[in-house]
């Protein structure tokens, strides 16, 4: 069975390569550990020598400190690259930089703890808009303006995810984002006469039903308390012309458009899905697709990249579609992940932190490449535009082994069908709470499971949203009046 052995070996090497990228992770961890110890001891030694508190500026040759906290990227090589980049940057700028990674699900708790304690990291990267944290973070308008001067205008999806029009502040700095295309199984869709996948939600309903009847393979749109379900609910609503708020931050959820969208979701569930979708985690739709049990999912390319490693046969059969269109003729999807750095008010090294952010955008092509094209540029004139979007660039010829090589080229105009989670309004703190307490997926789920009628589900959800909006308006972080 030597062929199989070789396959297993190949797989092992692939997994390891994915992990190590350029620098051996273990080497880095060892060095980082030493650096951390040195960092920990250093300032106190300095202080003991009468140097005072370890902070800012480089007077007298003493290095300043910068600490960064962010998620463990789903592509391990990105973290490996990033940690090494940060070290290099630190040496070039006379700063001791330390990067800490945590599970992205733990970011809110960790950040809340630091804010409550009034001390912690200088830079924290969130993968969703941290709008509720605005009172405790710095206004980064200057950084955004500086970045736009150097790297072109920031994309609307990124701006609206980091700007609060009520207070006129940028509560975060977005350096990249991830689109949320539809992934479909070409072989299954070809059998039902749609080799290019769905264009509209009705396509999804009809073909998805046919595929399920013929092969048992289901549609994979979640209605669980997790992120993908949040995105899917919103994409559906927007394509029907519905939304949680309008552009002026008034709650408009209980509309006919919403009810139509929810009705559609109920139909889609009954005809093409099973009740597995009520128990999903963020990984479930990935795994279902890779297992060959789902005909269509809405996800970033993470599922596809995983498939390339674990089930290349399925990966070759996965293709992409932009946001599905609804009866309005338009289709929108949310950003799947939006990478935003915030600088808490307690940071003692604000100048260097801001410098770091600006310099990071200058390395966008690395960000894009090392994330295996998961991260897209947030600005329009970075060193990644040509490499990524240009003719013959990475989207035309996937450097990570897509067959055919141009499989990802539909993402070239992803920015035109991607919007922030609060569309058509800003990503404010109320939208954030609604997102994090899964109001929309639960609205869909209660209608689909039959525990509420569609009308009741929608009006209950709208009432919840109004309560949430009212509270945040009291705290003066959100505009609108109803």
């Amino acid at each position: 069975m030597s062929d199989v052995d070789t396959e297993a070996e190949k797989l092992t090497r692939r997994v390891e390569t994915a992990w190590t990228g350029r620098l051996s992770r273990r080497e880095f961890v060892q060095k980082a550990g030493l650096a951390a110890v040195g960092l920990g001891a250093g300032p106190y030694l300095l202080a003991a020598c009468g140097g005072g508190a370890p902070s800012g500026g480089g007077g007298g040759g003493a290095k300043s400190q910068l600490t960064i906290l962010q998620w463990s990227h789903f592509v391990p090589r990105y973290d490996t690259w990033f940690d090494a980049y940060v070290k290099q940057w630190g040496e070039a700028n006379n700063v001791n930089v330390k990067v800490d990674h945590i599970n992205q699900a733990d970011l809110p708790a960790r950040t809340a703890a630091e804010i409550n304690a009034g001390s912690g990291h200088d830079l924290i990267e969130w993968i969703a808009p941290p709008s509720a944290l605005e009172p405790s973070v710095l206004d980064l308008t200057d950084v955004v303006q500086e970045a736009e001067k150097k790297y072109g205008s920031q994309l609307p999806v990124c701006k609206s995810s980091t700007y609060n029009p009520t207070t006129k502040k940028y509560f975060g700095f977005c350096h990249s984002w991830s689109p949320d295309p539809g992934d479909y199984r070409k072989s299954l869709w070809t059998k039902v006469g749609m080799p290019n996948g769905p264009l509209t939600y009705d396509d999804l309903l009809n073909a998805g039903t046919a595929i399920k009847q013929q092969t048992g393979v289901r549609v994979g749109i979640g209605m669980s308390q997790e992120q993908d379900s949040n995105m899917a609910a919103r994409a559906l609503l927007w394509s029907y012309g519905a939304s949680v708020q309008d552009a002026n931050e008034n709650v408009v959820l209980d509309s006919d458009a919403t009810r139509e969208a929810v009705n559609f979701m109920v139909k889609l569930f009954k005809q093409s899905m099973t009740n597995e979708i009520f128990s999903w985690t963020a990984a479930s739709n990935n795994q279902g697709l890779v297992a060959g049990q789902l005909s269509y999912i809405l996800n970033s390319i993470s599922a596809y990249r995983t498939a390339q490693q674990t089930r290349p046969d399925i990966a070759d059969d996965i293709f992409f579609r932009p946001a599905l269109q609804g009866p309005t003729g338009k289709g929108f999807a949310s950003e799947h992940v939006i990478l935003i750095y915030l600088i808490p008010k307690w940071s003692k090294n604000v100048d260097k932190a801001k410098q770091f952010l600006l310099d990071l955008v200058g390395h966008t092509s690395d960000i894009v490449y090392q994330s295996e094209l998961y991260n897209f540029p947030a600005f329009s004139k970075t060193n990644a535009q040509q490499k990524l979007f240009g003719s013959g660039g990475w989207l035309d010829k996937d450097p990570f082994g897509s067959h055919p090589a141009n499989k990802l080229d539909l993402l070239k105009n992803a920015a035109s069908w991607s919007v922030n989670v609060g569309y058509p309004g800003p990503s404010n703190a109320a939208i954030g709470e609604i997102f994090d307490t899964f109001v929309l997926p639960n609205m869909m789920a209660s209608a689909a499971r039959g525990t509420k009628t569609v009308d009741q589900a929608v009006s209950d959800a709208a009432a919840q949203c109004r309560q949430i909006f009212a509270k945040w308006r009291q705290r003066k972080l959100v505009g609108g009046s109803s």
Binding site: A36, N103, A109, A117, N286, T310
Partner: protein, 294 residues
């Protein structure tokens, strides 16, 4: 032959048969309960060696290796994540907290059980109230305390905080044990010339050893269970404990490294269980109910 009842009676065939079937039932029940507890680990042990193409195929038998077993996931756990550092950290914290717990709770429990029993219940309730605020909220103001003590991002922060949830129950457990040691024994010791403390050390403690072992087991394992405090106070990889470190490295966004996660689970659970089993065996061995009398 020791039987379930522990006594040898003159037995009629019917009684023998009944006893035999009772015994079989008993063995079956024990086996089922053991299986219930251990099944996830048995299955995890198989899963951790499964190749990806094998694991992510729902048509495959999850208990067999449809493709050759691979060590890749184990290697990933040990080489690509600082797993051993996490284990070391958890062990250090567990040990330190267990020691502190014993130090704090043995005297307190004895005092509440025997010395100041009038206060015993009231203070007991008060101490108990510590458990009424869930760590899921308590971690926020505690972060404040930790920051003030300048222990942020330091394993010592956990050593300082964890006894807050191990001590109350330990005091409770030991109170129970101390109360079930008859007063006469203590009084006798004092009659024989011991001071109060002497009586505690020389007479009571040896009798309470099962309880003390229980407290040690409990403290150590409770500290390894926690993740919310570890998450809130520590963010550097080299200071992380198992509960935080493993998910941080092996749950990346929407990608779970299942086989490596299973490996971590088995590797942590089995040695601890083995060690505890040895502990328990030594001190419970002599007390098998009725078997020695049979």
């Amino acid at each position: 032959m020791a039987t379930v009842t522990g006594y040898r009676h003159r037995s009629s065939p019917a009684v023998v048969a009944r006893r035999a079937s009772l015994r079989s039932l008993f063995l079956l029940v024990m086996a089922l309960l053991a299986l219930f507890c251990a099944f996830p680990f048995i299955w995890a042990t198989i899963t951790m060696f499964k190749a990806n193409a094998d694991l992510y195929n729902p048509a495959h038998n999850p208990f067999l290796f449809n493709q050759p077993a691979t060590l890749a996931h184990l290697l990933l756990l040990f080489q690509q994540t600082p797993f051993l550092t996490f284990v070391k950290n958890s062990a250090l914290v567990g040990g330190a907290v267990t020691g502190l717990t014993l130090l704090g709770s043995i005297p307190a429990a004895y005092a509440l059980a025997r010395l100041i029993p009038a206060w015993g219940d009231k203070l007991g309730v008060a101490i108990f109230m510590v458990y009424l605020v869930p760590p899921t909220l308590l971690f926020l103001p505690l972060s404040h305390v930790v920051a003030t003590l300048r222990l942020q991002d330091n394993l010592w922060s956990l050593v300082v905080v964890y006894p807050s949830f191990t001590i109350p129950l330990s005091i409770w457990l030991l109170m129970g044990f101390f109360k079930s040691i008859p007063r006469d024994i203590i009084e006798q010791a004092q009659v024989d010339g011991c001071s109060l403390i002497g009586a505690l050390v020389r007479v009571v403690m040896p009798l309470a050893v099962p309880g003390i072992i229980t407290v040690m087991v409990f403290s150590f394992t409770l500290t390894t269970q926690d993740f919310i405090y570890a998450l809130a106070f520590i963010s550097s990889s080299d200071q992380m404990t198992i509960s935080v470190g493993v998910p941080t490295n092996l749950i990346r966004g929407d990608v779970f490294y299942w086989q490596s996660l299973m490996a971590a689970t088995v590797i942590v659970a089995v040695p601890i269980a083995l060690v505890y089993n040895v502990f328990l065996r030594r001190f419970i061995q002599g007390f098998t109910m009725g078997a020695l009398k049979g």
